[in-house]
Structure formats: structure tokens, C-alpha cells
Symmetry: C2
Subunit: 393 residues, 2 copies
């Protein structure tokens, strides 16, 4: 059975060009870039080139790029570095809808004596900017706000928020794991001090991440060891992963217009047709300031997991909540923060597209999804109640 | 020019079987193991199998294995976790010859208020067990001693040292990055609580590491985020890296006898012939308790870097000091700790072999090395002094 993959916010296919670029570094060019011989030196030069490609995607300078193992490591590094740089400040400002890499870390830091403010979002997932402004204090060491939400795709006004933090001498970090490659980013035009993103969300393999640290920002390493990454991250470089990431970033830079035209058109087609053809459905999250590839739809009176399982029978991959919290029976913390009613949150599905999806795939999903929802609703006790109440009153 | 690779303690070639095993996870099977669909589920099952293969190499249970991004992350995690588990103890015992992943971390922790004892080694790189025993105190939270030294191959008696720590209620961590796959390890027969190793030292790619944590050991995560690795290490799993590591571990388990017979024989041939054919040479480190693949040889009156550069002309890759500290003009901290005189330390070369090396390669190295040393010595001002002093007195 063919896989029809609409779960690109969880992870993406490795682009063929990326695999091709990295393969020589899994085969012949296996030298350690720190070695004295030219066999290692060749690898060091390729890493420098990949660093430049990576920097270019976000309008950064190569020396502002630190390669890490994943978005989580980048987030942990940024927040801990900020706390280490400002030892007399113990307040962190974040939001109620962050990824666990920030949210769970902040919960942990609160046990270590930090004070955490989680800024609320409204019913459309938009940040409460008034509460944000009020939360910034002389004790605030760092703000960490995601650029775009992984579950709804809602984009936060991080540039404005970063400017407000800078004016108050507060460091600003953004988790841009979902934004990088999907919307244009130019760090030269922002006041953001640190930015995280991850290779496997933009068609590089899993196991490689990036932390951007603006030149001049005080930095304290998280992984301490050898001199790699100019002493900012110990550990032998994940060579093939770095080469892959460089290539993926250069492809992403070339494709970002496609994301915002073709991919957006496919997403809109999927979303609009579902809203038209299936009753009692609702988009979660503001539809104006949103990633072009993501839609989060609640199907009332059914369980998201039931929908996923039945779509799975046709090879259709999507997600309920984020992959990083799946396995839990709790409805998504993002939808709860938005005040989405329990029954709607439980029936929510995230479809996240990529440049590799086609119109035929979208049409196939709709063709299958309509009878799936119909069948599940017929099985649902809640649906019965509604139908009966319609008849009786 | 063919590469003749004798720098396997820096990094290794990815085994063809390993590349073959991981490739499907860089191509078709790109699902996120945390996803609800069967596309992700397949990947999760393969990770479970790789965890079992990894555990088998060191006689551990699969649930005692945490996948990390590198040996440095494993070392950082182990030591920080031990400190978090014993908040009323602030003393760390380590040695003077550790890898920077432990040594530099400990130096950093000393600035954060920890007290560090670095146990000395003798002229043959052997741990001072008397000093070690005396150093263990009621304030000692953790001991971190490498199993085998990366520069000399000298093996520490970690089993005895771990037993002594356990008897005193002290956690014991070992950096086994150089030992794993080269000598038999059976964690069931040791009192070691935590053990680090790295994929790229045993023919898996760079960017994947392991931390073994004995069942029942109190553990505090280092990378905090999602539920991955049963909540012990956040971050999307480095899927292809993990699959590769599993395969590499199962190959290493099958080849450990070969390491201690064929590879050892090649190393001995190289070492003995050098000692016989080149005057004023000396093995650094105890030759009895030593890894089978490593020899560290001092060539008096010459610079190690000169030797490396001239060998490089023939495609021969070796190392002076460790790759993780190269670029520095300081002689190796390991050789300094052993009291190797400055001129001898500066002329030291590490050859580290693997199962892929051949007798013909070893003979080629010797054939080229003899005239290289001869030529360099003729250029050396120190060598002239010696010759003249021989003539004059």
C-alpha cells in the first residue's frame, strides 16, 4: 500500500538531493573533521560549506550557527545559556502552547527556583500581547516563544515580541522548528537573539538541529567537551547530518515560495472541501497568521484516534495533537489553552503538507475521509444524542 | 591516492552492513516513531530491535540503554544526573587523563562549586589506586573514569574501582567510548552504574551515542522535552543513526575476538617493527593492560605534526594526541600526566587500527615511515646536537 503522507509537522521525507549529498559522508569520506590529515580536512571544509547554506536560509552569518542534535537540544541550550548569562535574573516568559522541549524544560526549571510566566492565547491561538508586555520585568532573563505552532500552524508575532524584550534588556529565544523553511526568515531584520530549528522538519534526516546565536550574545555551552563548534558545543560533529542539513536548507530557501503558493493551495483545497462536505467541523487556530502547510480540524462527536486508525487503513498519515505527546490520553495542551471544548479537542486532526504532496492525494484523502467520519459518527453515542434531541425538540 | 586509515580511535569507517541497514530509514521509512500511524509504528519497532542489539554488546537490558547524540552528551548526562541525584554531595573523582568530555566538564563544574579530584597516573598511564581509594569520601557524588584511554589505549581497572565506589554508596560512571567493541564488556558482572559509548568509534556514523544506566539507578534527564526514551531524553529519535548503531553493535559483538587476535597481531607487527627499525623510539603506556588496536609511539627529536604531514603525502592517516584536542600546540595532557618528557611527547604518534586494516597496509606504513623519520631527524636541530655531542664527548 502506498503511503500518503500528510504528517510533515511530525517529520518529513528526506529529499532525494539531500540523501545524495550526504551519502559520500557515510561511505568514503568518513574522516573526523578535527583530524590533522587531509582525509579529515576535506570533511571540515564541507562542514564549513554546509554552515554557510544553513545560515543563508535564515539570513544569518555562518559563525552564528551552532549545529546540535535536534530542536530539543537547541531549545534546552538557548534557555539554559540565557539563565547562565544572567545569573541575577530568574524569571522566564513563555507561552501556554509551546512544544514540550520548552514547556517541560520550563516546568523543570520552576522546580530549580525559576519563576515561569506562561502567556495565554485566545480562542484562535493568538498570543495575548497585553499580558506579554506586562509580564516583562527586571527579573526576566529570557523570553522563549515559538515562531509557529506545531499543532495549529498559528504564527506568533515574534519580531514585535523580540523588539519589546530587547528594549528591556531581556534575551529573546524562538523555537522556529515549524517555521524554518515554511515562511521567509531574515534574522538581520529581527531583534531575536537565539533561534532553534531542526533538520528533520525540512527534509533532512532526524538527528540534526541548529541553534542560531546572534553575534555578541553572551553564550554558555550546554554540551561541554572538545573544541568543536568553536567551543560552543562539544562532541564529534554529526558529519553526514550536517552535510544533509546544509543541502536541505539550500533546497528550503529555494522552495519557500512554493510552500506559500502550491502547498498553501493544496492545504486550502483540503480544508475548504472538508468544511463544505462534512458537517460539524471547525478549523482550530487563526487562519490568517498561519503556516501555509498546516490545518487543524475538529470533527465534532468523534475521536481523533478513530479517524487516524481508519485513515491508516488507506495509508493516509496524519496526526492528532503532536507526535511528541502522542500516547497520552489527554487532549492537546494547545487546544485546551485555546479553550477548545473537550469534545471538539478530542476529535481534532492535524494535516500537515509538504511540497511532495499532490492534488490527486488531497482528493483521495477527501474521498476516504467523508465516509470515515460518517461511519464513526454513526457509532458515536454523542452523535445519537444530538440526532435524537433534534428529533424530539 | 588510496587512503590508508590508521586513525580508528578518532573515528571509523561506516561498515557496509551498517550503511545497508540504515539506508531504508533515510529513504522510504522516514516516519516519526512517536506517530500514531503504522508508518511511524514500523520505525518504533525497528528502534526497539536496535536497542536490543545495542544492549547485547555490553550485556545490558534494552531498557538500560538511552540513545544520545554522542559520547560527549552521554558523559555530560551521566555526571550531571549523578550530581542531581545526590544534591548534598559536591565532590567528583576523575583522572588526569580523561577525554575533554569529562575533563572540561569537570573543570566547568568546579566553577559551579563542585570539588574535583583528578587521580594521577604513573609513567605507564596506570591509575594510582591508592590515591583513588583515599579520594573517595562521604561528599563524593560520582566517580568518572574512562575504561580505556583514547591516546594510549591503556585500560583502567574500572571493575575494581566501581566496586570500591559502590561499597561507599558513590555512583560510578565510565567513559567506554574507546573500549566498547574492542574488549568484551558484560555489565552484569560489574558494579558500574553508568557507561557511555559512541557509534562512530565502532563503524556506525557520527552523531549517535549511548548512555547505559543500570536499572534502579536514580536518573535525571539532561535533554528535557518530549516523552522519548521513556522520558529520559527528549528530542525526536535519530532513527537512521539508531538503526545503524544497532547493526554496528551486533557486528562489534561478533568481531570482538577478531579485534583481540587479528587486529592485535597487526598492531604488534607495526609496533615491533618500528621499535626494531627506528632508533630512539618508545611506546607510551603500559603494554599489558591495553586496547588491542592502539599504539602510541614517541619518536625522539622530531615533531609529531611533521611526521603526520609527511605520512599524509602517502595517504596514511594517524594522529598526534587526540583529534578532539588537535589544533592546539600544547602536547597531549595524557602524555604530560604520564610524565613523558616534552621532547618525547611532541614527537608522539598514535596509530589506531581496525578490522579493515591489512598486513600489506602495515608493511607499507613501515616502508614509508623509516625514511620519513630519518629525513625529519636530519632536519632537526636537536638531532644535530645529539650527534655532535656523541662526536665531541
Amino acid at each position: 500500500m502506498t503511503t500518503l503522507y500528510l504528517d510533515n509537522n511530525a517529520t518529513t521525507m528526506v529529499a532525494p538531493e539531500v540523501l545524495e549529498a550526504m551519502l559520500p559522508y557515510l561511505k568514503d569520506h568518513y574522516g573526523n573533521p578535527s583530524s590533522m590529515h587531509s582525509f579529515g580536512g576535506h570533511v571540515a571544509r564541507k562542514i564549513a560549506a554546509a554552515r554557510e547554506e544553513t545560515a543563508n536560509l535564515i539570513g544569518a552569518d555562518p559563525e552564528e550557527i551552532i549545529f546540535t542534535s535536534c530542536g530539543t537540544e537547541s531549545d534546552n541550550t538557548a534557555i539554559r545559556s540565557a539563565l547562565a548569562s544572567m545569573p541575577d535574573r530568574r524569571h522566564i516568559v513563555t507561552s501556554r502552547v509551546e512544544h514540550p522541549a520548552v514547556k517541560v524544560l520550563c516546568e523543570h526549571l520552576s522546580k530549580e527556583g525559576c519563576r515561569i510566566t506562561e502567556i495565554a492565547v485566545d480562542g484562535q491561538g493568538r498570543l495575548d500581547m497585553e499580558q506579554y508586555e506586562k509580564s516583562l520585568s527586571k527579573d526576566t532573563a529570557v523570553v522563549s516563544l515559538m515562531w509557529a505552532n506545531n499543532e495549529t500552524g498559528v504564527i506568533f508575532p515574534v519580531k514585535t515580541a523580540a523588539q519589546m524584550a530587547r528594549e528591556r534588556g531581556i534575551l529573546f529565544h524562538t523555537d522556529a522548528v515549524q517555521a524554518a523553511g515554511k515562511i521567509p526568515i531574515d534574522m538581520k531584520r529581527t531583534a531575536i537573539d537565539m533561534l532553534s530549528f531542526s533538520g528533520h522538519k525540512l527534509h533532512a534526516p532526524k538527528g540534526i538541529g541548529v541553534l542560531y546565536v546572534r553575534r555578541g550574545t553572551k553564550f554558555s555551552p550546554f554540551l561541554i567537551g572538545g573544541h568543536q563548534e568553536r567551543g560552543r558545543r562539544g562532541g564529534t560533529e554529526s558529519v553526514a547530518g550536517i552535510i544533509a542539513l546544509g543541502k536541505a536548507c539550500s533546497l528550503a530557501a529555494a522552495n519557500v515560495n512554493l510552500e506559500n503558493s502550491a502547498v498553501k493551495a493544496l492545504r486550502d483545497r483540503l480544508e475548504q472541501t472538508i468544511l463544505q462536505r462534512i458537517s460539524d467541523t471547525k478549523i482550530n487556530g487563526n487562519t490568517k497568521e498561519r503556516l501555509p502547510n498546516t490545518t487543524n480540524i475538529s470533527f465534532e462527536f468523534v475521536e481523533g484516534e478513530g479517524i487516524l486508525l481508519m485513515m491508516n487503513e488507506y495509508g493516509i498519515c496524519a496526526s492528532s495533537g503532536s507526535a511528541c505527546t502522542s500516547g497520552s490520553l489527554q487532549p492537546s495542551h494547545v487546544l485546551r489553552a485555546m479553550g477548545v471544548p473537550f469534545t471538539m479537542a478530542h476529535g481534532s486532526i492535524r494535516f500537515s503538507l509538504s511540497i511532495y504532496n499532490t492534488e490527486a492525494e488531497i482528493d483521495f484523502v477527501i474521498e476516504k475521509l467523508v465516509p470515515i467520519i460518517d461511519r464513526l459518527r454513526r457509532l458515536s453515542p454523542y452523535w445519537d444524542d444530538v440526532k435524537q434531541s433534534c428529533v424530539l425538540h
